[in-house]
Amino acid sequence: MIEFRAASVVVDTPQGPLTVLEPTTLTLTEQRIGIIGANGSGKSTLARLINGLADVTDGQVLVDGVDVAEDGRAVRRRVGFVFSQPDAQLVMPTVAEDVTLSLRRTIRDKAERRRQAEKVLERIGLADRADVSVHALSGGQKQLLALAGVLATDPAVVVADEPTTLLDLRNTAEVANQLFAMPQQLVLVTHDLDLAQRCDRVLVVNDAAVVFDGPAANAIAHYRALVTS
């Protein structure tokens, strides 16, 4: 369960303090949660707070009762994060090595790490690419690998920040199918309203505030009205 308790973010700029997220109170228990909104509206900040990639200025964010600000390390063990640009996330030369990197903290035995990595790659459809350079993968495969690196640690929650933005239709479908097939709770930041439609609950973020929170169809209608008004 993810809880926002009057969580707000204000950053300093040369022009003075800028509110990136107004005080927000939410409890997210649904399995598939979508976050939609215009560029710069604050939806990525909202998502990054869950993993401790962004810090609250006031209020609290808790994951399964653990305060992100107090024990970020414990929270990051429970929350995986997928970025829109997989190149930034892939730090090892080959596919299998990148997945085993995620497992170094938890599995000491090298052979066991490799076995676990192969299992995750099998699940994600990249088993035959295990020893290929990460630079030889297509955009969709890179994003699947980034997801595999996250899933290897078996987190309770996966936050995905526009994971399909750079992908073509086929790769979008493949990555989305993997995301929606996961047993983990999913928090999906997206501009793709078809993906948002598949979520159990959708938050609409506008001008640094959550302006709508409800079922996907209603949220999408609200968002469409917002951008066309």
């Binding site: 993993n51 401790g52 990639l53 970020g72 390390r73 990051r76 063990r77 995986g80 994060f81 970025f83 640009q85 190149d87 930034a88 996330q89 892939l90 730090v91 090892m92 030369p93 080959t94 090595e97 085993t100 990197l101 995620s102 170094r104 903290r105 090298k110 790490r113 490799r114 020893d131 350079s133 990460v134 630079h135 030889a136 690196g149 996250v150 640690t153």
Partner: protein
Amino acid sequence: MSTELIGAYRPGTTLLHRIPAGPKLALVAAWSMLVVLTKGWQAAAACLVVALLIAAWARLGLRRTLKAARGLLIMLAIVSVFQIWQRGWEVAVAVTGDLLALFVVALAFTATTPVDGLLTAIERGLQPFRPIGVKPERVALAFSLVLSSLPRLLEIAKETRSAAKARGLERSPRALLVPFAIRSVAGALETGAALHARGLGDD
């Protein structure tokens, strides 16, 4: 240099593949010392021949090795011309031979050593320094980041060059260097955030 080869492990069954990463790293260090400490063009030429034999033993393949070394070869050609002009052909052969001998062996090392094994070896080797504040996991991670960032930087350089060319600015150092520097730093920050998100460096 090619983005496809640098830092990329290629599975195999040669003896070089089977030597554990720690002893192999020590051998590469010893090799580097030998290359640097031996003087003269004859020694450099001999080191280069040995390095090429090691590369052949690791089954690197001549074509791929040449492709990976293309950028270095161009740079060495320029350095060689300068050395011949300033200090004679013997010095040029010595400098070029030494650099190539180091590069080829480093290439053979990365091609036959899984990075996971390398990280374990570095972590193990640095354990005695833990009491004085060294964090072996972080040093090992930094080492692997250096290896993996090379192809990314080369990709950024290629993209920046294409973008400058598309705008007719391929001869402008500013149009090449400024975006390259900005994108490299931005990429490093993104990678930092990604490592943080994966909990790496938390320990």
